[in-house]
């Protein structure tokens, strides 16, 4: 595949959010979110704790419902009917901070379950696909083990493989390295970088600014449930426009 073929294509939006508003009771968690993510585009979403970044990506696969505006994913309007929700979830993979592997199933079974149940793959097909993807995240030799027998970094790579087994068009990452010991962060980021290089459309909530510099096409900064600014990483880091962004970057980069 040539570089040109996997460059993000803004003319073909994968996700569009327009005027999205979300409330938890009386608390407004998202304010009028407008965001378009092109096919193959990598977005890093950052912001202080409680700024609504997790809520935003959880709206994209309807783990959270939204009350205002519209979200389209892969051309499907994400309504509140279970039919469109299922259709969207088949296209969107998600990786969680706490891995959320199924502890009673082996690594292989974790990866085979959803393709068999919701894509209707046969056992043999699902296993072939699972082994292929476990190999891709370099964990194939652990296929028969249970999640509790793996390290955090290994568990998160299994979680990535499990999501990829559904052949998603979009991958959402919700702070995938925040629960990891420092020495395991790199193996997970490397897996994500490899995925990005293959042209996957990705939205990552993360504080790994090195990852953002290397991989992101755009960095989106949120505060208090609204998008404050968005820019390509070079511009975002060297020349942040808003005071809140500068303050956030000062805090987060000052630590390193």
């Amino acid at each position: 595949m040539t570089q040109a073929a996997i460059r993000p294509d803004a003319s073909e939006p994968m996700i569009t959010m327009s005027g999205v508003g979300k409330w938890f009771g009386a608390f407004q968690a998202l304010h009028n979110i407008d965001m378009t993510v092109g096919k193959g585009e990598k977005i890093v979403l950052c912001g202080p704790s409680g700024s609504g970044k997790s809520t935003l990506i959880r709206c994209i696969n309807h783990l959270e419902s939204y009350q205002q505006g519209e979200i389209h994913v892969g051309g499907i309007l994400l309504g509140h009917a279970s039919k469109t929700i299922d259709a969207v979830r088949r296209e969107v993979g998600m990786v969680f901070q706490q891995f959320n592997l199924f502890p009673h199933l082996s690594v292989l079974q974790n990866c085979m379950l959803a393709p068999m149940r919701s894509l209707g793959l046969s056992k043999a097909e699902a296993e072939e696909c699972a082994r292929l993807l476990l190999d891709r995240v370099k964990i194939s030799e652990q296929a028969e083990k249970y999640p509790a027998q793996l390290s955090g970094g290994q568990q998160q790579r299994v979680a990535i493989a499990r999501a990829l087994c559904m052949r998603p068009k979009v991958m959402l990452f919700d702070e995938p390295t925040s629960a990891l010991d420092p020495e395991m962060v790199k193996e997970v980021l490397d897996t994500m970088i490899a995925l990005a290089e293959e042209g996957m459309t990705m939205i990552c909530v993360t504080h790994e600014m090195g990852f953002a510099r290397q991989v992101a096409d755009r960095v989106v900064f949120m505060a208090s449930g609204a998008i404050v600014e968005e820019a390509p990483p070079a511009e975002f880091f060297s020349n942040p426009r808003h005071e809140r962004t500068r303050k956030f970057l000062g805090e987060i980069l000052g630590r390193h």
Binding site: N61, L63, D86, R89, R90, V92, G93, M94, F96, Q98, N100, L101, F102, P103, H104, L113, A114, R117, S118, Y146, A148, Q149, A159, R162, A163, M166
Partner: protein
């Protein structure tokens, strides 16, 4: 106590086993329905199930058996003692198991449901493949404990004239005037039923723990 009397006790034991088995199986199936209804997310259904559970937890089993046996006869539904007692024990077990399993389903971390939803698993698969297997492990000690209690609870069936182990013991005791001997044997027979179940439960717990050990 002679051989004949002991055989009579074993006949009673047979009915106690049969009654326990029916109450286990039917009570578990009905209990699963109760647990699922109790966690379905529809407020009205959940409230009705909460009331159902409250009624059975708040009244003695003995009274429940009376109501089923005599109450149904009053409204013209004829049932023999065996069917009435089975129904009573099934209803009783469904309420208790339903509540035990409801708690266990809710004790499974929320992330499991979210991961299953994100993988576009539907309700049936989420329950069958993800939540219930984990809930079963969580609830195992309480479930085994209740089932052991249920075996002993079948002795109350004697009150409506059903000849299971306890009533058989009573009859023999009245014939041979050796209550201490007779009821020692009856007690030992109950113990022989309950104890293996407890041991099996502990064995299952160890096996489950082995697969989730870190």
């Amino acid at each position: 106590m002679g051989r004949e009397e002991f055989v009579f006790l074993l006949m009673g034991l047979k009915w106690t086993v049969a009654l326990s088995a029916v109450a286990f199986v039917c009570g578990s199936i009905a209990g699963l329905v109760v647990a699922l209804a109790r966690t379905c997310g529809i407020a009205a259904v959940e409230r009705i199930m909460a009331a159902y559970i409250a009624v059975f937890q708040g009244t003695p089993l003995l009274m429940q058996l009376f109501v089923v046996y005599y109450g149904l006869a009053l409204v013209g539904i004829k049932m023999d003692a065996w069917a009435a007692v089975s129904l009573g024990l099934t209803l009783h077990a469904s309420a208790y198991l339903g509540e035990i399993w409801r708690g266990a389903i809710e004790a499974v971390p929320k992330g499991q449901t979210e991961a299953a939803k994100a993988l576009s698993l539907g309700y049936v698969s989420r329950m069958k493949d993800v939540l219930l297997p984990q809930a079963l492990r969580i609830s195992l000690p309480a479930t085994i404990g209740f089932l052991v209690q249920l075996i002993k609870g079948t002795s109350l069936a004697s009150i409506v004239g059903f000849t299971e182990l306890t009533r058989a013991g009573n009859i023999i005791s009245n014939q041979i005037f050796q209550p201490l001997t007779v009821f020692s044997v009856v007690g030992a027979l109950y113990f022989l039923m309950c104890c293996p179940l407890t041991i099996y439960g502990a064995h299952l717990e160890r096996r489950f723990a082995a697969t989730s050990r870190s």
